[in-house]
Symmetry: C2
């Protein structure tokens, strides 16, 4: 019998208990041993829950119990989740977590602590909800150099953008509907400003390149500026506007960013609709591989937590080594080379005259403006071309190829 | 230094050597130890290859060498691949393979042999080429009851069907082009008749349900009967014709089959084009998760082989237990309940009169025929409805929802 403790009994915590209870028989059969939730740490009491008797209000009995092998941290927020995680690892217990904030800020240190104490620190549930992405990227793609990782990492914003595309609604209306359906919080800032996706892309960047960048040090742009007109223009180009977390190496440094992109229909990311998440990994041997599924939700996220509990209990996980990013390891987003979509005010003659600056063949005319996708160019080159062409720019967005 | 042996130095075998050589430094860093190819078993000599000196023509020195920890079998065909695998496992060596034939026919026995001798038998590369699907299904989805697995498991047929859809060409023309591009073999039978996909779906069914069915015992239908007219009719219904391997539980038994399906645009499988593979897993806690990528090819497949080599060398893999399927564990395909597309000869009045038999709301008229998607019904019910409605059936295909 493997004894475990849950830290936090909110949505994911209670979901984890539910998965372990509902599928107890098959988990025991597949793993070869049973799991028992001995403690649940929460500030609240749960007198009506079958596991209500396991609730404790202090981490101490969990740290002091030598039989506790795995601690599942699902408290959310950086503190005291970080301190509890650190203490559990130092007490020789493996920790698994759904807490992207802690992983994004303290992952490098906590992985080192885990290695030092011969235990695991696993965080499959911190990115993409239940979608297996962390472990496939770490283990299945281990023979590969990762070239880039790009994805829809936030279901709330993807729901809003899907609604805008399908119904031609404006951002604020789509946000209201997302809120009324419970897909967006009353204060939706972390989602719509891209902060949630920023935490996830720095975790994926660290897995890909071994360098953990603070979410506050990367370029983050949300979707509040996206208009129904932009969505329609993207559609006319055969693209969808998607909020993309993206990471790649640029000139030996690591680039990570969150920004709205135009995604062509040829990309599997284009077809990710509603609250789903989808992550595309480009690797030197494997080429492009795509992972898609429920990016949030009680049971999907809990499934990932339980999968990590099983792995931590089995032991022998090869933990990655992450280095906190020094400033000279972080790439300037202006150096990123990609195709870019532009909409300028002007007529067909203006569009013809502008071709040479941006290297495009085709353009579309829309309401006194022209619209095109450029050749691959850096942000710096793009800025220079905008200035040189002398036309009035309405908007520009990178294209994800 | 971990000593390994490669059995077979064809496309995948030489690709495996290439991955291990090209990415030697990063593999060693991630794994913490170096890998050395000590033997390559092949009937041929490779005097010009840098590893030509490692070639042997008998399995014996490999079995006799106590330092060989992992054997990678990439010979293809059942024999002597099965015998060599069995002997290597019995000699206490882990075996990894890309050989779907051996896994589909002998997987249950070889997994038992591996367990008995405390070693691993891994086969990530046997399904979906380089796409991580075997291990995610076995490990990341371990807390879930699997409800179904459905996918495009053969790139050749998907290339042909994509071409038929996009260009309106007929099957034979699309096949010829696939052959001229090297996507289809001179004798394309195993691909176009669905036999290759059959081997893969029985492996996925065994992972999902623990029961290994022989590929010869499942219902297999290829794409030779698909016409340009059918492809166009599917398109009119917002669907694509795809060759699908599908497995689910039906009445306590395991159903596995390969057949052309109509796939609606709402499914991620719809958007898998060309030689790519895509596999959708539906699980009780996680919901639907989708895995997409290169389903074949030298380096993608080799990437999966090398990933298995790393896992086998690390040890501590929880191998699944498979039971060879007794006849009473195998479901009758006629019991499968799903929506179905039908095209009958007849006019709008006939279509109205037929609604009640198939429970549809909408239909399309095409060249003296009517076309619709039915309510979910079993094959048995569908046959009865076709007989009862008294109209002339042109074709019927299951719909993958």
């Amino acid at each position: 019998m493997i004894q475990i403790a849950l830290l936090g009994f909110g949505v994911v915590g209670s979901g984890t208990a539910e998965v372990l209870t509902e599928n107890r028989a098959l988990i025991e059969k597949r793993f070869g041993e049973a799991f028992n939730i001995r403690y649940i740490l929460d500030l609240r009491e749960f007198p009506d829950h079958p596991l209500g008797g396991r609730v404790v209000h202090s981490i101490d009995p969990i740290l002091a119990d030598p039989e506790i092998r795995v601690v599942a941290e699902m408290m959310g927020g950086s503190h005291p989740a970080y301190e509890f995680t650190k203490a559990a690892l130092e007490a020789g217990k493996s920790v698994v977590t759904s807490n992207k904030e802690v992983v994004a800020h303290y992952g490098a240190e906590l992985l080192a602590t885990a290695r030092e104490h011969g235990v695991s620190y696993l965080f499959e549930a911190s990115v993409g909800g239940g979608i297996p992405i962390i472990r496939p990227l770490r283990d299945d793609l281990a023979p590969n150099e990762i070239l880039s990782v790009s994805g829809i990492l936030n279901g709330t914003t993807n729901y809003i953008l899907t609604k805008m595309k399908k119904e031609g609604t404006d951002f604020s209306l789509a946000l209201k509907e997302a809120q009324s359906l419970g897909y967006a919080e009353t204060d939706p800032t972390a989602d719509i400003e891209g902060l949630d996706a920023a935490r996830k892309i720095v975790i994926l960047a660290a897995l890909a390149f071994g360098v953990l960048i603070s979410p506050s040090e990367i370029s983050v742009q949300g979707i509040t500026g996206i208009t129904a007109e932009q969505t329609a223009a993207a559609d006319a180009l055969g693209c969808a506007v998607k909020l993309i977390g993206h990471t790649e190496r640029v000139g030996g440094r690591v680039l990570a960013l969150v920004a709205p992109h135009l995604v062509p229909a040829s990309s599997p990311i284009h077809h990710v609709e509603g609250v789903f998440n989808g992550i595309l990994v480009n690797a030197d041997m494997l080429g492009k591989t795509f992972f898609y599924g429920a990016g949030a939700g009680k049971l999907p996220t809990a499934s990932a937590v339980v999968s990590d509990i099983l792995n931590a209990a089995a032991g022998n996980v090869r933990l990655p080594e992450w280095t906190p990013a020094a400033p000279d390891r972080i790439a300037d987003p202006a150096d990123r080379v990609c195709r870019r979509a532009f909409l300028f005010k002007g007529c067909a003659r203006c569009a013809e005259a502008t071709k040479t600056y941006f290297g495009y063949e085709n353009f579309l005319l829309r309401d006194g403006a022209f619209l095109f996708i450029s050749r691959p160019m850096s942000g710096r080159e793009a800025d220079a071309a905008v200035a040189a062409c002398g036309k009035e720019l309405c908007w520009a967005l990178p294209v994800l190829d």
